[in-house]
Symmetry: C2
Subunit: 211 residues, 2 copies
DNA sequence: GGGCCGCAGTAGACACCGTCAACTACACCG
DNA sequence: CGGTGTAGTTGACGGTGTCTACTGCGGCCC
């Protein structure tokens, strides 16, 4: 049964899918409930029956992006016997995701939601990804034999997340145009950044990354 | 002559000021050309005489934020005889700015402008800040006596910028609500991050930062 | 000085948007 | 059979960006 054109069976589901398609095609700003309804061959108020407001449909799209992101990080092949390498792989996966799915990435981290507290599913997905990172740091610290507070793990995870998040944002957003960086530099940036993070964490594995 | 209420002398200038005030008061989404005009006691088309579109007035506001940011970084007290310390001071200044002027910071780095290439002044201000950082890195490398390509300086500057930018974004945006981080951790984060950056750059000055 | 032109600002209209309220169609249940 | 709740429709309202046509008004050239 083709649910694409002609009134879809599950309208709520179809709205989210169609909204994402619109955003992908013409940008976040031009997303409108009415356009979604139009594409679904449905009255302009039908989506309103399933979502209290435009923000709620948008947050549903964002939540989906977070799930996609979490699944991506989870499905990455792990290296349990080498936590340092594993952490590096996770960082690489983070940057790869931002590179391969810039739309989803921007939806997650650059979408202005009025009050994120309204949408618990979204927050949970985000928190999940951060917890993965914390666990990676903790495992690495354990093999390094360093004494390590929970607080210190969180701070290090935050440092790593910040660096990854920052680079992803720069690469995806304003790098070439605003900062006028060559795509050559931008291509080297992930490896270099991960190398520097490795050094910062006292990990020799990353030290040789930039020659 | 009070140019605030009653038709302002320089309408173009007044539009930018008033737009910023509106954004500060009620958020970016609710900014409208008509509201700007209303507050300026002017017809809804008057601002349109000075700005081709709503995006252009917004980009003027963003450009102003970039100038503010650049001035802030420039006015920071420098430590010419200790480049490492100087670099750290610059990082601190960066994070301080994001902390003290979250609105301007978000305007600069989290505002969706359709095509930034249209607004050269904006780009120039951003590039200026990045160049400051590159020079800081280059000076530090020089005192370290390390051989250093121009490319490597840029990559390191990019690493530092990414970490700072990432942390600022996390702190200003989604930290407590989405990532559920305590404000205690968040308060420690800048010093810790700068310390880790110091370590990554092979600089002992930052190594003791997190105890 | 008088006509002319360009510029700043005004007024009205258009299409679009989110949202509210009232309505219809229909399945289900007593 | 009537009642009830749910999904969807229709129409309206106020707000928005933008287009077009209009009014003043100061400077400029003849």
């Amino acid at each position: 049964m083709p649910a694409d054109r002609g009134r879809p069976e599950d309208l709520k589901e179809a709205c989210v899918t169609e909204a994402l398609a619109i955003i992908a095609a013409t940008g976040l700003e031009t997303l409108s409930l009415r356009e979604v309804a139009r594409r679904l061959s449905v009255s302009h108020q039908a989506p309103y029956r399933h979502f209290p407001s435009r923000d709620h449909i948008l947050s549903a799209v964002v939540a989906r992006a977070f799930d996609h992101f979490s699944a991506y990080l989870d499905s990455r092949q792990q290296v349990p016997d080498n936590p340092a390498q594993d952490l590096r792989g996770m960082g690489l996966a983070y940057l790869s995701y931002a590179d391969e799915h810039p739309l989803q990435y921007r939806l997650m981290f650059a979408t202005p939601l009025p009050n994120p507290a309204d949408h618990p599913g979204m927050m949970q997905s985000a928190r999940h990804a951060f917890t993965l990172l914390e666990q990676g740091v903790a495992r690495m610290r354990a093999t390094q034999g360093q004494p390590c507070t929970e607080e210190l793990v969180t701070l290090d995870a935050l440092f790593i997340w910040a660096a990854l998040h920052g680079l992803a944002g720069i690469r995806g957003g304003c790098a070439i145009t605003t900062l006028r960086l060559s795509s050559d530099i931008l291509g080297q940036a992930p490896a270099h950044l991960l190398g520097r993070i490795g050094q910062a964490m006292g990990n020799p594995c990353g030290a040789k990354a930039d020659g």
